[in-house]
């Protein structure tokens, strides 16, 4: 168990990277606290696997250092780092039985057989494969293989960190929930530092103390699920977290008013002059449809998704989404939208701008 520090870290897969675009992972400084559970969230190709592979030593970074507590491990091999990692693509040793697969990492470290047998049994129970222990791994279904991979990742208790790279993608929803619970329990019981890569925001938000959002090789925000929801630091975080994502509307800011096509929206704070692409971001949860308040919208469609209704509408030529309560009545003459001023964020070139108290 260790605190992991990334110092000036960056990585490019090219031998002689020139511009910033050549980097799969852009310069990054971050400390992963000892014993915390992190979810690493981001769209495909943003560098999540690259980051994990650098932490576990499968990949040598082009620049920067990695510290475990205060030990510099940048040039240490994977074996010396004592890390467990579960890959996106399930890896099982075909010719071995499920039991031997699970025991493999322990045997390679020379643990005694009694301990191994005990531990394998425990893990098999966690992943629900006790009955299959004596089967050969070859020919098992994809989700069984993924569970074995996961089990091999969890079998060692003394690891410095546990890295999971989308370990539950091909597993059916019920089992997914079950395994997620097991992972949380594992984290609770042993307090490993855990980094969990996923595409799935609900998975991220339920699993982690802190969520790290990556976009295009960069960490754009690290925060609690609540922070990500209330104050997305980057428009990507706004889009990516929440369903539907944040409404982002081009605007012109003047003091504490945001002008959209001549009409204005009140802001809770004042802003100085802004350059570049200026937008406001409002979560659908903080927009309200009514007959009288706010600016005109054209409602296109109302979707009832159970707990609430999603209203798809057009706002000065931009698509926006509004969320209304389940029992709120939506009538045809409701053609105005108002925003909760405290929850309207302002973005310049996709990054959030902090306002001054007005």
């Amino acid at each position: 168990m260790a605190k992991i520090t990334l110092d000036n870290l960056a990585h490019s897969y090219l031998p002689n990277p020139g511009s910033e675009d050549d980097y799969a992972l852009k310069e990054l400084n971050h400390v992963w606290d000892d014993g915390a559970a992190y979810a690493l969230l981001g769209s495909s190709g943003c560098g999540k696997s690259t980051l994990l592979n650098i932490i576990s030593g499968l990949l040598q970074p082009s620049q920067g250092r990695i510290l475990f507590d205060d030990r510099d491990v940048t040039h240490e091999p994977t074996a010396a780092r004592n890390i467990a990692q579960v890959f996106q693509f399930p890896v099982v040793y075909d010719t071995m039985t499920v039991r031997d697969n699970l025991a493999f990492p322990l045997r390679n470290r020379g643990r005694d057989e009694r301990y191994i047998a005990e531990r394998v049994q425990e893990i098999a129970r966690m992943i629900g494969m006790e009955e299959m222990l004596n089967r050969k791994a070859r020919g098992l279904t994809a989700d069984a293989k993924q569970k074995i991979s996961l089990g091999r990742g969890m079998v060692r208790k003394d690891v410095n960190a546990l890295l999971f790279d989308e370990p539950l993608t091909v597993i059916d929803p019920h089992m997914k929930w079950e395994l997620r619970t097991q992972l949380k329990k594992l984290h609770h019981d042993f307090g490993h530092t855990m980094i969990y890569v996923t595409h799935d925001q609900t998975e991220a938000l339920t699993f982690a103390d802190k969520v790290v959002v990556m976009y295009d090789g960069r960490v754009v925000q690290i925060g609690t699920p609540e922070e990500l929801f209330e104050r997305p630091e980057h428009t990507f975080v706004g889009y990516f977290i929440g369903s539907p994502g944040m409404n982002v509307i081009p605007a012109r800011i003047d003091g504490n008013k945001a002008y959209v096509n001549g009409s204005y929206v009140e802001l809770a704070q004042g802003y100085g002059p802004l350059n570049g692409k200026v937008e406001i971001g409002v979560r659908p949860e903080y927009a309200r449809l009514s007959q009288t308040d706010g600016l005109p919208v054209k409602v296109r469609r109302v979707e009832d998704v159970g707990r609430h209704k999603i209203i798809r509408a057009e706002f000065f030529g931009h698509d926006i989404n509004i969320i209304a309560g389940e029992d709120e009545r939506i009538s045809a003459d409701m053609n105005r939208v108002s925003f909760d001023a405290a929850h309207v964020n302002v973005y310049a070139n996709d990054w959030r701008v902090q306002g001054e108290a007005a």
Binding site: G57, L58, P77, A79, Q85, F89, T95, G153
Partner: protein, 289 residues
């Protein structure tokens, strides 16, 4: 939907059928024909039944040749397969040197059999061959025309030189198909180099290795040209492998009947061993599943 019945497709198979008939079935039937008949010349044949088969089965000469043949195939498989795997494991995985190695290793495979034989025949000569001369000067008694061991070593080394590349190339193809994640997982699990080979590389290579072994077995079991060019089957009968013996009998002595019976048994032995081989390997494969 109604299926249309149309038998015209048979015509498309016809050319192949004809080709196979002329190239394989008819010649084979001729051999069968010879094997059950006897002649006193003048193109007059009469029925001999299984006489030739009985004679060949009790002929020490054939059993000796079969023994030598099995020994030859066994030795070259025992060398070429591990050596081929070893070479494949040590080849660069990508870049210029990977292509370079591939080309270099394909070269021996492209040389015609009799040329390979001639190359080694000259190479091993004590008077003008680089190998023979050097060994001789080093004080090693090497003369493949007189010494049985030297003759065997020469034809085995020649076959290894000629065909190890085939095994290596097939094994290499098998290795290349292993996703990176396997090696990464093995590193995380702290598997030793040997375990990576035993539990990742070997299982993934099994399929192509099976093909390589089968090919090398059949090919070496029928080998004729190269040893014939180098040793001519000698010294004595020391390197007279099955097909060399067969040709001696059929063309040298013109014993068509026995030679035909010999051919058929030869053919059946290859078929049998290959079949046993294939079944055992595929069953092994299934049982592991």
């Amino acid at each position: 939907m109604e299926k249309t019945v149309n038998q015209k497709a048979w015509f498309l198979v016809l050319p192949v059928l004809l080709l196979v008939a002329f190239s394989a079935v008819i010649p084979l039937m001729t051999v069968v024909n010879y094997s059950v008949q006897d002649t006193f010349g003048n193109n007059q044949f009469f029925w001999a039944g299984l006489e030739w088969f009985r004679e060949m089965l009790s002929s020490e000469r054939m059993w000796d040749a079969l023994g030598r043949q099995l020994m030859f195939s066994g030795i070259i498989l025992a060398i070429e397969v591990p050596l081929g795997i070893f070479v494949a494991l040590n080849m660069p995985k990508s870049g210029f040197w990977a292509s370079f190695c591939l080309v270099l290793m394909s070269l021996p495979l492209l040389i015609p059999w009799n040329v390979v034989g001639t190359i080694w025949q000259i190479f091993g000569r004590v008077d003008i061959g680089l190998l023979g001369y050097t060994l001789d000067k080093l004080g090693i008694n090497y003369n493949y025309t007189q010494d049985t061991i030297a003759a065997w070593v020469t034809i085995v080394v020649m076959d290894v030189w000629h065909w190890t590349s085939l095994v290596a190339l097939l094994a290499y193809a098998g290795l290349k198909s292993i996703p990176d994640a396997y090696y990464q997982a093995a590193k995380i699990d702290q598997a030793s180099r040997w375990k990576v080979f035993r539990f990742i590389e070997l299982p993934k290579m099994m399929g192509v290795l099976m093909i390589a072994i089968l090919l090398r077995f059949m090919d070496s079991f029928m080998i004729y040209t190269e040893p014939f060019v180098v040793t001519g089957g000698g010294p004595g009968n020391a390197t007279t492998l099955l097909s060399i013996d067969l040709v001696k009998m059929a063309l040298g002595q013109f014993d068509l009947g026995p030679a035909a019976a010999f051919s058929i048994m030869y053919f059946l032995v290859i078929l049998l061993i290959s079949w046993v081989f294939y079944t055992v390997m595929t069953n092994l494969d299934k049982r592991e599943g």
